[in-house]
């Protein structure tokens, strides 16, 4: 079997952001469920949190290609 260890590193780097994005949207969904009128207020905040959490996975894929042989 051949391949590149850097891609395993990318896989590992997606775990944290994956969980984080799930938690963020879970909080967003329960917030909207409790108070449907707060949707407009919560949406940019949820997307912002999603974007910030996602950054680590993006670093992961950039570095995976940097270190791939």
């Amino acid at each position: 079997m051949t391949g590149d260890l850097a891609i395993i590193g990318y896989g590992l780097s997606t775990l944290g952001p994956g969980i984080a994005v799930g938690l963020i949207f879970a909080a967003y969904v329960s917030g909207v469920a409790r108070q449907p009128e707060s949707r407009g207020l919560l949406q940019p905040i949820a997307i912002l949190g999603f974007a910030l959490a996602e950054a680590l996975a993006i670093f992961g894929i950039a570095l995976a290609f940097v270190f791939a042989g």
């Binding site: 974007a51 993006i58 670093f59 950039a62 290609f65």
Partner: protein, 263 residues
């Protein structure tokens, strides 16, 4: 793409990689070559200018379809992003910048799934980097203009901290303001476009390889790969819009952070 398909035919399968994004059209294989993303970027600028000039020349009180769509996008950036984040006092100054950033990124991203063009400009790091440098210069510029050089550095540290922790927080905020923000801003857009496009290329090229070069049951897998490519194209369209929105949202937040009187 055609060179890639040809490469996939003979011998083993060659997975798409970063090199597929280097597509010089003229000027040879040097750093001064005219590349495909450059042409796509110029095309997007021409397209946006033509569209906006055409629509805004004939504004009516009861909007037509084109005017309604354009006003929808403009209203989203002006009211949904700029006014809500920057505050009603001085948001109008930044609306042109934010609207330009949003439309430019949106059109360039969507070119990634428009047939025949099919190249997201922002999957070359130079383009998002240039946009990030513009935002970087603007938010430091307005911050220093508003508070003076010393005041700007002072405002990075939130007030009311115990004395011994202040240098540490200042150091962290310094890194955030000068390194993390521009780097993540550029890399987020680049990474999303790059990864999304490579996934689409993999679905199509891999599906073609399985369909024509593999035998037996694997041919069905090739059809499944094409179906996956179709679904991912729709998903990419969503991601492309979202990333244009996120880039504009973060630009507005960084400018707001430099404008804010207190933390």
């Amino acid at each position: 793409m055609s060179a890639l398909l040809a490469a996939g035919e003979g011998g083993g399968f060659e997975a798409p990689g970063p090199l597929d994004f280097w597509q010089p059209l003229a000027g040879g294989d040097t750093q001064y070559a005219l590349t495909r993303p450059m042409v796509v970027a110029v095309l997007s600028v021409v397209l946006i200018s033509w569209w906006l000039l055409r629509v805004t020349r004939t504004l009516t009180v009861v909007p037509g379809r084109a005017q309604y769509c354009t006003e929808g996008v403009y209203g989203m950036v002006r009211n949904g992003l700029a006014r809500d984040i920057l505050g009603t006092k001085d948001f109008l100054k930044f609306v042109p910048l934010l609207f330009t950033i949003f439309t430019l990124i949106l059109v360039n991203n969507l070119f990634g799934i428009v047939p025949l063009i099919q190249f997201p400009t922002m999957s070359r790091i130079g383009f998002p980097l240039a946009l990030a440098i513009v935002v970087y210069a603007v938010y430091h510029g307005v911050g220093i203009q508003r508070m003076g050089l010393a005041g700007y550095f002072k405002h990075m540290v939130p007030p009311g901290l115990p004395g011994w922790i202040t240098p540490l927080i200042f150091f962290l905020e310094l890194i955030t303001y000068f390194v993390t923000r521009p780097v993540t801003l550029a890399l987020r857009l680049f990474g999303n476009m790059f990864a999304g496009h490579i996934l689409l290329v993999l679905c199509v090229v891999g599906g073609e390889y399985l369909l024509f070069d593999a035998d037996g049951v694997l041919k069905i897998a090739g059809i499944a790969a094409f179906a996956g490519g179709f679904v991912m194209t729709l998903f990419e369209g969503f991601v492309q819009f979202l990333q244009a929105y996120v880039f504009t949202l973060l630009s507005a937040l960084y400018i707001a952070g430099a404008l804010a009187d207190e933390h």
